[in-house]
Subunit: 386 residues, 2 copies
Amino acid sequence: MRDVAIVGIGMTSFGELWQTSLRSMWAEAALAALDDAGVESVDLITVGCMSSGLFTGQEHLAALLADELGMAGVPAARVESACASGGLAVRAGFAEVAAGLADTVLVTGVEKMTDVDGADATYALGTAADSEWEGFHGVTFPGLYAMLARIHMLQHGTTREQLAQVAVKNHANGLLNPRAQFHLKVGVDDVLRSTMVADPLRLLDCSPVTDGAAAVVLTTVDRARELAGDRPVVAITGSGMATDTVTLANRPALGELNAVKLAGERAYAMAGKTPEDIHLVEVHDCFTIAEIMATEALGFFDPGFGGSAVERGLTGLQGKIPVNTSGGLKSKGHPVGATGVAQVVEVTEQLRGESGQRQVEGARVGMAQNMGGSGGSSVVHILEVV
Amino acid sequence: MRDVAIVGIGMTSFGELWQTSLRSMWAEAALAALDDAGVESVDLITVGCMSSGLFTGQEHLAALLADELGMAGVPAARVESACASGGLAVRAGFAEVAAGLADTVLVTGVEKMTDVDGADATYALGTAADSEWEGFHGVTFPGLYAMLARIHMLQHGTTREQLAQVAVKNHANGLLNPRAQFHLKVGVDDVLRSTMVADPLRLLDCSPVTDGAAAVVLTTVDRARELAGDRPVVAITGSGMATDTVTLANRPALGELNAVKLAGERAYAMAGKTPEDIHLVEVHDCFTIAEIMATEALGFFDPGFGGSAVERGLTGLQGKIPVNTSGGLKSKGHPVGATGVAQVVEVTEQLRGESGQRQVEGARVGMAQNMGGSGGSSVVHILEVV
């Protein structure tokens, strides 16, 4: 198996991008990553996208996008694992380079969510849950995560204020990220007074509907050293995937995210790392409770201590383990298929020391954790300066 | 890169399966392949499916299906390249085993197309074309392939009767395949008298709307030898992918399928084979013209001679290069995401010598060619007894 590195990164600003189409914003991110890498051709394009069918009436997406870039002919593959589609696109590219099937891969993620109205977007997102056993009964994702929050509060004493503090921290980080959807200082009281969505989750506990695209260029570590010049070479040293039941009702326990735990363990094992070795992590905070549960599942805190960790500032920019320096899904925005790739963009930028005001000093090992549905799938990558 | 083999195959009968759901028919094929392989656990599941979102209101498909099989926890990835999604699922599994990231992969393809009405199915299939530049103007796939047929007739003198003879041959083969959707003897006159769909293509030139699932189990050639007992070991020695413009209007020429040509060349190069080495091939005959063009693009016949080759019987069961021994998409049926995997099932069965009345005697090298849209993407695999 060959060693794999990230030699280029690019992304659009995230937001409600009314003026642009899926293919145009995808091309913007892809061209930025190719330019950053200094390469003009690739052997493969992977595209993470949850539901271009329901959001834009377009399948066969990867071939379409290859042509948009003037690369008709180049192999192109779309992958889908709901909101973990971007992480899966990274994995698919990683496997091809590791196997020696491709030398250079353009890995991308994209979602155009605002071309349909709110009800249709809610329906499309709802197809990440079990349509027969969950969606049929009317539950949508705020409701599913509200149940997870209630159980976490009951089992572990996690408080309403601790949930709010996740939003406060991530919005503070997002203020320092020029590509974030929201540049908005948020206090605990703002969260607690925001509109109730699904008790106990309020509007400011929820990630938004977002348009956006992100891209990274993968190649072998050997070629990356040639391309990098005097920039640090960032390698992918761990890659782990796992699933859990999509249906919450089928799980033996609801206080933990088992797919995240398993994917994390697989990534740690491949990289030969433990949670103590990680200098920063992007986790999948689609709702505030998700960040708390993810940090526990990845071993940064014991089960039940994710909430108090936020309260104590352990996950802040200067904390023991900075979490979501980008602003996370909460503030940076959550174009579902793009999110997993954008997480890798953020971690790479941090490891290169190019994150400006939100830079984690001395960061040399980082992690990105992407999740589908209410934890039905997860993809975790560990990145290191090599 | 490790050598990869197919150790298990399984599929449902294809047809209008009103009595079963996507997940149930998928599990039937998956369990059959695992049983055939004699393995009880896998490291990864890949799922080729074009549009479970539009056909059944369900995304996040791979995680859902892993759980359906009692395998929640196991990594699972859905891939999509329109009607080439099944071929892409084979490629994704191949890459993971080749890289050493997985030792055993369950590769699957599925599509449940009859849970929506005909207009909605036509819309869903139409999303494999360019929604902005083709679909918006009202063209659907019979229309796109009718244009390809007209150009082929004009440039090469391909005749209306030659198109019909593709259907006659494939329906004759399908009569010998117990899992085919149609068991129907068709003559040239039947095709020529069938309802006009899009001039020059008539009803019997078109593959049907179909429900179905197919599965294969991949592992290393070394492990395959242990599992195979006294059965032949069938390896995947060539894997090629390519794209073309999705939009027909963007192509410099319409008389050839460039993605098929490129994907074929890449597969031949990896396997160290030429068209003369191939003993049988499953090609993507979504319309009769597609089979003729595919056999030319893969190098079995010179450009413009695919039509006369059918007429001369060169592609029949006893011909120089038997094409679509399974009955092809035309007679076996075309559940779009399942098709590419079902092609590999057929070729594997042939190479094992287990194809009964439609067995190609002495077949030791076979090919499967899967295609998305009107040739916007293609995936080609070469299989060999090793």
